[in-house]
């Protein structure tokens, strides 16, 4: 490691605020760009599956009514 100790590492030679906020914000945004589309994909799948089942139910009820 380049730093002498772990506290030295977190302190970043007095630049802790700049370094850690930069990395924090960036990692948060990058994680959001994976997690949000991932949840969206799951939600889309579930939603379309429900729609498909509704359509199927509608079709069977229409045929039994005749």
């Amino acid at each position: 490691m380049y730093f002498d100790s772990l506290s030295d590492f977190f302190n970043m030679g007095g630049h802790a605020l700049y370094v850690w906020t930069s990395f924090g914000i960036s990692l948060l945004l990058m994680a959001a760009n994976i997690l949000l589309p991932w949840w969206n994909l799951k939600r889309t799948r579930a939603q379309l599956q429900r729609q498909l089942r509704r359509e199927a139910a509608l079709n069977t009820s229409a045929t039994t009514a005749e």
């Binding site: 490691m1 380049y2 730093f3 590492f9 970043m12 030679g13 007095g14 630049h15 700049y18 370094v19 906020t21 930069s22 990395f23 914000i25 960036s26 945004l29 990058m30 959001a32 760009n33 994976i34 589309p37 991932w38 969206n40 994909l41 889309t44 799948r45 379309l48 599956q49 729609q51 498909l52």
Partner: protein, 249 residues
């Protein structure tokens, strides 16, 4: 090689093929993202030597440069997808363009914010209307414009063409970003890396940066595929193969 590329192009143009093949690509993109990012982060933050002038705030380079790099290349990809849509009417190009816009906007935002934070200890200011900073801000607004345009216009085909056109016209900003540091040199330093020259920093500094760039590209691929796959399911809901997939799970 050429024929292989041509086949790939035609296959990727089919939503069904795209959806099926990218399903097997996802774990690779995910793995590459986590691998390169963790190696790059640990190496860049803890092991790379600090800059003797800037001290440890120099480490911001490990996200600032890859983000700024991707911000521009994602925009160019979006414009290329726009050309493919307008010239060859390939619908999948629009799906990809739509998936590219949010990641591109996020990358531009990251580049702007980390640049501002880095500016405080290094330049003594977080913002100045320097040509590089201004042209990057314009890039951010171009991304927001493309995203808003898609929301605003109906039907989908009209929105797709309008977004493609805006993306293509906005490409004019890319060479301005690139050469801004040479044409109007006020605050931002010129490029640190050139393809034709050896890097002006030791390998212990640029190798972690290379890892981060690879990690960012993998993350881009992962994110774009996730968004594109959801969009394919929505757009192709009426198609038989989508219904089959939905019924299977």
């Amino acid at each position: 090689m050429w024929n292989w590329l041509k086949t790939l192009y035609h296959r990727l143009g089919s939503p069904k093929w795209f959806y099926q093949i990218t399903g097997s690509w996802l774990p690779w993109f995910a793995g590459a993202t986590l691998l390169f990012m963790s190696v790059g982060l640990v190496w860049g933050l803890a092991y790379a030597p600090m800059d003797y002038q800037q001290g440890n705030s120099f480490r911001i380079i490990y996200i600032h440069v890859p983000a700024a790099f991707l911000a521009q290349s994602v925009y160019m990809m979006m414009a290329v997808a726009g050309v493919v849509l307008l010239v060859w009417k390939m619908k999948m190009a629009d799906v990809v363009a739509q998936a590219l816009a949010p990641v591109g906007a996020a990358m531009t935002f990251i580049a702007l914010v980390t640049g501002a934070i880095w500016g405080v200890p290094t330049w003594g200011t977080w913002w100045m209307w320097d040509a590089r900073l201004t042209s990057m801000l314009i890039l951010f607004f171009l991304y927001l414009g493309v995203i808003a345009l898609r929301e605003a216009l109906k039907p989908q085909e009209v929105a797709a063409r309008a977004c493609a056109l805006l993306a293509i016209v906005g490409v004019i900003n890319i060479p301005i970003i690139k050469y801004s540091v040479d044409w109007w040199y006020t605050l931002h330093q010129p490029a640190t890396f050139k393809l034709t020259e050896k890097p002006a920093m030791p390998a212990s500094m640029w190798l972690p940066l290379l890892m981060m760039v690879l990690g960012f590209y993998a993350l881009l691929g992962w994110s774009v595929l996730l968004r594109a796959r959801a969009e394919i399911l929505r757009r192709e809901f009426k198609a038989g193969w989508v219904r089959e997939i939905l019924q299977r799970k």
